[in-house]
Protein backbone atom coordinates (compact mmCIF):
# COMPACT_ATOMS: atom_id res chain seq x y z
CA UNK A 1 0.00 0.00 0.00
CA UNK A 2 1.46 3.32 -1.06
CA UNK A 3 0.89 6.55 0.86
CA UNK A 4 1.82 9.79 -0.94
CA UNK A 5 3.46 12.47 1.17
CA UNK A 6 3.32 16.20 0.57
CA UNK A 7 5.19 19.32 1.67
CA UNK A 8 6.62 19.16 5.21
CA UNK A 9 5.59 15.50 5.66
CA UNK A 10 7.65 14.63 2.59
CA UNK A 11 10.52 16.65 4.00
CA UNK A 12 10.28 14.93 7.40
CA UNK A 13 10.26 11.44 5.87
CA UNK A 14 12.73 12.19 3.09
CA UNK A 15 10.73 10.61 0.25
CA UNK A 16 7.61 11.28 -1.83
CA UNK A 17 5.91 8.04 -0.85
CA UNK A 18 5.96 5.52 1.98
CA UNK A 19 5.09 1.87 1.38
CA UNK A 20 3.17 -0.09 4.03
CA UNK A 21 3.27 -3.89 3.72
CA UNK A 22 -0.42 -4.80 3.63
CA UNK A 23 -3.15 -5.39 1.08
CA UNK A 24 -5.92 -4.12 3.35
CA UNK A 25 -6.17 -2.69 6.84
CA UNK A 26 -8.13 -0.16 8.85
CA UNK A 27 -7.13 3.48 8.93
CA UNK A 28 -6.32 3.13 12.65
CA UNK A 29 -3.84 0.32 11.90
CA UNK A 30 -2.46 2.22 8.94
CA UNK A 31 -1.82 5.21 11.23
CA UNK A 32 -0.02 2.92 13.71
CA UNK A 33 2.20 1.63 10.92
CA UNK A 34 2.89 5.13 9.61
CA UNK A 35 3.70 6.34 13.12
CA UNK A 36 6.54 3.79 13.24
CA UNK A 37 8.01 5.26 10.06
CA UNK A 38 7.31 9.00 10.24
CA UNK A 39 8.20 10.69 13.49
CA UNK A 40 5.36 12.63 15.10
CA UNK A 41 2.82 11.87 12.36
CA UNK A 42 0.11 10.45 14.65
CA UNK A 43 0.24 13.53 16.83
CA UNK A 44 0.17 15.87 13.81
CA UNK A 45 -2.84 14.06 12.31
CA UNK A 46 -4.71 13.97 15.62
CA UNK A 47 -4.20 17.73 16.06
CA UNK A 48 -5.32 18.39 12.49
CA UNK A 49 -1.92 19.82 11.55
CA UNK A 50 -1.64 17.14 8.85
CA UNK A 51 -4.63 15.98 6.77
CA UNK A 52 -5.25 12.52 5.34
CA UNK A 53 -7.18 11.95 2.13
CA UNK A 54 -8.37 8.56 0.83
CA UNK A 55 -9.54 8.42 -2.77
CA UNK A 56 -9.76 12.20 -2.86
CA UNK A 57 -11.87 12.55 0.25
CA UNK A 58 -10.67 13.92 3.59
CA UNK A 59 -10.82 11.31 6.38
CA UNK A 60 -10.28 11.30 10.12
CA UNK A 61 -8.11 8.21 10.64
CA UNK A 62 -7.86 8.69 14.39
CA UNK A 63 -11.51 9.62 15.05
CA UNK A 64 -14.68 8.78 13.15
CA UNK A 65 -13.00 6.95 10.24
CA UNK A 66 -10.60 4.81 12.31
CA UNK A 67 -12.38 1.54 11.43
CA UNK A 68 -12.67 2.32 7.72
CA UNK A 69 -10.87 -0.27 5.55
CA UNK A 70 -8.37 0.82 2.93
CA UNK A 71 -6.99 -1.45 0.23
CA UNK A 72 -4.00 -1.64 -2.10
CA UNK A 73 -4.71 0.66 -4.99
CA UNK A 74 -6.55 3.22 -2.88
CA UNK A 75 -5.13 6.71 -3.26
CA UNK A 76 -3.90 7.72 0.18
CA UNK A 77 -2.19 11.03 0.89
CA UNK A 78 -0.84 12.90 3.90
CA UNK A 79 -0.63 16.65 3.52
CA UNK A 80 -0.26 19.62 5.83
CA UNK A 81 -2.05 22.90 5.14
CA UNK A 82 0.05 25.07 2.82
CA UNK A 83 0.71 28.28 4.68
CA UNK A 84 2.60 30.36 2.13
CA UNK A 85 1.18 33.18 0.10
Amino acid sequence: MIVRLFASVRKAYGDKTVEVEASELTLAVLMDRLAQRIEGIADSVSRGAVLMAVNRELVDPIGKDRDRMVHSGDEIALMPPLAGG
Partner: protein, 241 residues
Protein backbone atom coordinates in the same frame (compact mmCIF):
# COMPACT_ATOMS: atom_id res chain seq x y z
CA UNK B 1 -24.13 51.08 -17.43
CA UNK B 2 -21.05 50.28 -19.46
CA UNK B 3 -19.40 53.12 -21.36
CA UNK B 4 -18.16 52.86 -24.94
CA UNK B 5 -14.65 52.73 -23.50
CA UNK B 6 -15.67 49.78 -21.28
CA UNK B 7 -17.11 47.96 -24.30
CA UNK B 8 -13.86 48.46 -26.20
CA UNK B 9 -11.60 47.67 -23.27
CA UNK B 10 -13.44 44.49 -22.29
CA UNK B 11 -14.40 43.49 -25.84
CA UNK B 12 -12.73 40.08 -25.69
CA UNK B 13 -14.18 39.07 -22.34
CA UNK B 14 -17.63 40.27 -23.38
CA UNK B 15 -17.46 37.22 -25.65
CA UNK B 16 -17.26 35.11 -22.45
CA UNK B 17 -20.06 36.83 -20.51
CA UNK B 18 -22.74 39.47 -21.00
CA UNK B 19 -22.67 43.25 -20.54
CA UNK B 20 -24.87 42.79 -17.50
CA UNK B 21 -22.30 40.42 -15.98
CA UNK B 22 -19.50 42.87 -16.83
CA UNK B 23 -21.51 45.52 -15.05
CA UNK B 24 -21.62 43.31 -11.96
CA UNK B 25 -17.80 43.25 -12.02
CA UNK B 26 -17.76 47.03 -12.32
CA UNK B 27 -20.05 47.39 -9.29
CA UNK B 28 -18.20 44.82 -7.18
CA UNK B 29 -16.08 45.53 -4.12
CA UNK B 30 -13.29 43.03 -3.46
CA UNK B 31 -11.10 42.89 -0.36
CA UNK B 32 -7.65 41.47 -1.06
CA UNK B 33 -5.82 40.39 2.10
CA UNK B 34 -2.11 40.42 1.26
CA UNK B 35 -0.14 42.05 -1.57
CA UNK B 36 2.48 39.29 -1.91
CA UNK B 37 2.92 36.22 -4.08
CA UNK B 38 -0.78 35.34 -4.34
CA UNK B 39 -2.11 38.87 -4.05
CA UNK B 40 0.00 40.11 -6.99
CA UNK B 41 -1.45 37.95 -9.80
CA UNK B 42 -4.89 37.95 -8.21
CA UNK B 43 -5.07 41.76 -7.99
CA UNK B 44 -3.66 42.21 -11.49
CA UNK B 45 -6.23 39.85 -13.07
CA UNK B 46 -9.12 41.42 -11.16
CA UNK B 47 -7.97 44.92 -12.12
CA UNK B 48 -7.62 44.19 -15.81
CA UNK B 49 -10.97 42.35 -15.81
CA UNK B 50 -12.62 45.56 -14.60
CA UNK B 51 -13.53 44.78 -10.99
CA UNK B 52 -14.64 48.25 -10.00
CA UNK B 53 -13.48 48.58 -6.40
CA UNK B 54 -10.39 46.83 -5.05
CA UNK B 55 -9.01 47.29 -1.55
CA UNK B 56 -5.56 45.81 -0.89
CA UNK B 57 -4.53 45.32 2.74
CA UNK B 58 -0.92 44.65 3.72
CA UNK B 59 1.32 45.93 6.48
CA UNK B 60 4.78 45.27 5.03
CA UNK B 61 7.32 47.12 2.93
CA UNK B 62 8.84 45.75 -0.27
CA UNK B 63 12.06 43.79 0.22
CA UNK B 64 14.53 42.55 -2.43
CA UNK B 65 13.75 38.95 -1.49
CA UNK B 66 10.05 39.51 -2.35
CA UNK B 67 10.79 40.17 -6.00
CA UNK B 68 11.14 36.52 -7.10
CA UNK B 69 7.36 36.19 -6.86
CA UNK B 70 5.55 39.40 -5.90
CA UNK B 71 5.02 40.79 -9.37
CA UNK B 72 3.12 43.92 -8.28
CA UNK B 73 6.40 45.33 -6.97
CA UNK B 74 9.61 46.31 -8.77
CA UNK B 75 13.22 47.02 -7.82
CA UNK B 76 12.36 50.71 -7.62
CA UNK B 77 9.77 49.92 -4.93
CA UNK B 78 12.23 48.40 -2.42
CA UNK B 79 11.62 50.04 0.95
CA UNK B 80 8.17 51.41 -0.03
CA UNK B 81 4.97 50.17 1.54
CA UNK B 82 3.53 47.30 -0.48
CA UNK B 83 0.12 48.94 -0.52
CA UNK B 84 1.62 52.01 -2.22
CA UNK B 85 3.44 50.11 -4.93
CA UNK B 86 0.46 47.77 -5.40
CA UNK B 87 -1.99 50.64 -5.89
CA UNK B 88 0.39 52.32 -8.33
CA UNK B 89 0.87 49.13 -10.36
CA UNK B 90 -2.86 48.40 -10.46
CA UNK B 91 -3.69 51.96 -11.51
CA UNK B 92 -1.17 51.64 -14.32
CA UNK B 93 -3.02 48.52 -15.46
CA UNK B 94 -6.48 50.07 -15.30
CA UNK B 95 -7.29 53.71 -14.54
CA UNK B 96 -11.02 53.10 -15.00
CA UNK B 97 -11.36 51.29 -11.64
CA UNK B 98 -11.01 52.38 -8.04
CA UNK B 99 -8.04 50.93 -6.15
CA UNK B 100 -7.26 51.58 -2.51
CA UNK B 101 -4.38 50.43 -0.31
CA UNK B 102 -4.68 50.10 3.46
CA UNK B 103 -1.56 49.52 5.56
CA UNK B 104 -2.87 47.83 8.66
CA UNK B 105 -2.49 44.69 10.74
CA UNK B 106 -5.39 42.30 10.20
CA UNK B 107 -6.65 41.04 13.55
CA UNK B 108 -9.99 40.59 15.30
CA UNK B 109 -9.89 44.24 16.36
CA UNK B 110 -9.38 45.71 12.86
CA UNK B 111 -11.07 43.21 10.58
CA UNK B 112 -14.61 44.64 10.66
CA UNK B 113 -13.44 48.07 9.58
CA UNK B 114 -11.23 46.58 6.86
CA UNK B 115 -13.80 44.19 5.39
CA UNK B 116 -17.26 45.72 5.92
CA UNK B 117 -18.79 47.03 2.70
CA UNK B 118 -17.09 44.44 0.48
CA UNK B 119 -18.74 41.64 -1.49
CA UNK B 120 -16.01 39.03 -1.15
CA UNK B 121 -12.74 38.43 0.71
CA UNK B 122 -9.71 36.94 -1.00
CA UNK B 123 -7.20 35.27 1.32
CA UNK B 124 -3.73 35.93 -0.09
CA UNK B 125 -2.00 35.97 3.29
CA UNK B 126 1.12 34.03 4.19
CA UNK B 127 0.13 32.69 7.60
CA UNK B 128 -2.69 30.79 9.23
CA UNK B 129 -3.35 33.04 12.24
CA UNK B 130 -4.46 35.85 9.89
CA UNK B 131 -6.35 33.34 7.73
CA UNK B 132 -8.35 32.30 10.79
CA UNK B 133 -9.16 35.97 11.47
CA UNK B 134 -10.44 36.35 7.89
CA UNK B 135 -12.38 33.08 8.13
CA UNK B 136 -14.02 34.14 11.41
CA UNK B 137 -15.09 37.42 9.80
CA UNK B 138 -16.40 35.62 6.70
CA UNK B 139 -18.45 33.20 8.82
CA UNK B 140 -19.77 35.92 11.13
CA UNK B 141 -20.79 38.20 8.25
CA UNK B 142 -21.88 35.48 5.80
CA UNK B 143 -19.31 36.76 3.32
CA UNK B 144 -17.72 34.45 0.75
CA UNK B 145 -13.96 33.99 0.84
CA UNK B 146 -11.56 32.50 -1.66
CA UNK B 147 -8.72 30.77 0.16
CA UNK B 148 -5.34 30.11 -1.43
CA UNK B 149 -2.08 28.74 -0.02
CA UNK B 150 1.22 27.63 -1.48
CA UNK B 151 4.48 25.93 -0.57
CA UNK B 152 7.22 25.15 -3.07
CA UNK B 153 5.64 23.42 -6.07
CA UNK B 154 2.34 22.83 -4.19
CA UNK B 155 -0.77 24.96 -4.00
CA UNK B 156 -4.25 24.69 -2.52
CA UNK B 157 -7.48 26.52 -3.19
CA UNK B 158 -11.08 26.45 -1.98
CA UNK B 159 -14.16 28.67 -1.97
CA UNK B 160 -15.59 29.31 1.49
CA UNK B 161 -19.35 29.89 1.29
CA UNK B 162 -20.54 30.31 4.91
CA UNK B 163 -23.58 28.16 5.63
CA UNK B 164 -23.26 26.26 2.35
CA UNK B 165 -19.92 24.52 2.64
CA UNK B 166 -17.03 23.99 5.05
CA UNK B 167 -15.22 26.99 6.47
CA UNK B 168 -11.44 27.16 6.74
CA UNK B 169 -11.54 25.88 10.34
CA UNK B 170 -13.65 22.85 9.27
CA UNK B 171 -10.83 21.84 6.92
CA UNK B 172 -7.71 23.04 8.71
CA UNK B 173 -8.17 22.60 12.42
CA UNK B 174 -4.68 23.70 13.25
CA UNK B 175 -2.07 25.82 11.56
CA UNK B 176 1.01 23.97 10.33
CA UNK B 177 4.23 24.37 12.29
CA UNK B 178 5.97 27.65 11.46
CA UNK B 179 8.80 27.18 8.95
CA UNK B 180 10.69 29.13 6.32
CA UNK B 181 8.39 28.36 3.39
CA UNK B 182 10.03 27.58 0.05
CA UNK B 183 8.47 29.56 -2.78
CA UNK B 184 9.14 30.58 -6.38
CA UNK B 185 6.87 32.85 -8.37
CA UNK B 186 5.18 30.43 -10.74
CA UNK B 187 3.31 28.55 -7.98
CA UNK B 188 1.54 31.58 -6.47
CA UNK B 189 1.10 32.70 -10.10
CA UNK B 190 -0.97 29.56 -10.76
CA UNK B 191 -2.96 29.72 -7.51
CA UNK B 192 -3.47 33.50 -7.63
CA UNK B 193 -4.84 33.22 -11.18
CA UNK B 194 -7.20 30.44 -10.02
CA UNK B 195 -8.34 32.62 -7.10
CA UNK B 196 -9.09 35.40 -9.61
CA UNK B 197 -11.09 32.91 -11.67
CA UNK B 198 -13.21 31.98 -8.63
CA UNK B 199 -13.82 35.64 -7.75
CA UNK B 200 -14.89 36.44 -11.32
CA UNK B 201 -17.14 33.35 -11.40
CA UNK B 202 -18.78 34.39 -8.14
CA UNK B 203 -19.34 37.97 -9.26
CA UNK B 204 -20.62 37.13 -12.73
CA UNK B 205 -22.50 33.95 -11.72
CA UNK B 206 -20.66 31.89 -14.32
CA UNK B 207 -19.76 28.24 -13.58
CA UNK B 208 -19.57 26.07 -10.48
CA UNK B 209 -17.67 27.44 -7.50
CA UNK B 210 -15.08 25.41 -5.61
CA UNK B 211 -17.39 24.88 -2.61
CA UNK B 212 -16.91 21.62 -0.68
CA UNK B 213 -13.79 20.89 -2.69
CA UNK B 214 -10.14 21.52 -1.90
CA UNK B 215 -8.10 21.82 -5.08
CA UNK B 216 -4.53 20.60 -4.70
CA UNK B 217 -2.01 21.64 -7.34
CA UNK B 218 1.19 19.60 -7.50
CA UNK B 219 3.60 21.30 -9.88
CA UNK B 220 6.24 18.56 -9.56
CA UNK B 221 3.85 15.86 -10.76
CA UNK B 222 1.92 18.47 -12.80
CA UNK B 223 -1.37 17.23 -11.37
CA UNK B 224 -4.52 18.87 -10.07
CA UNK B 225 -6.69 16.97 -7.59
CA UNK B 226 -10.06 17.85 -6.14
CA UNK B 227 -10.40 16.58 -2.58
CA UNK B 228 -13.95 16.35 -1.23
CA UNK B 229 -14.35 18.33 2.00
CA UNK B 230 -17.34 18.62 4.33
CA UNK B 231 -18.59 20.86 7.09
CA UNK B 232 -17.48 19.77 10.55
CA UNK B 233 -20.56 19.63 12.80
CA UNK B 234 -18.26 20.40 15.75
CA UNK B 235 -16.39 23.26 14.03
CA UNK B 236 -15.41 25.94 16.53
CA UNK B 237 -16.12 28.70 14.00
CA UNK B 238 -19.17 27.77 11.94
CA UNK B 239 -21.17 25.06 13.71
CA UNK B 240 -23.84 27.43 15.00
CA UNK B 241 -24.12 29.39 11.75
Amino acid sequence: MLTDRDRERYKRQLLAWTEDQQHRLKDARVLIAGAGGLGSPLAMYLAVAGVGHIRVVDRDAVDLSNLNRQTLHTEGDIGRLKTESAVEALRDLNRDIHVEGVTRIMDDGTIDELVDGHDIIVDCTDNFPVRYVLNRKAVRSGLPMVHGGIRGFLGQLTFIAPGKGPCLACIFKQAPEPESIPVFGATPGVIGALQATEVIKYLTGVGDLLIGRLLIYDGEAMEFQNIKIERDPGCVECRAK
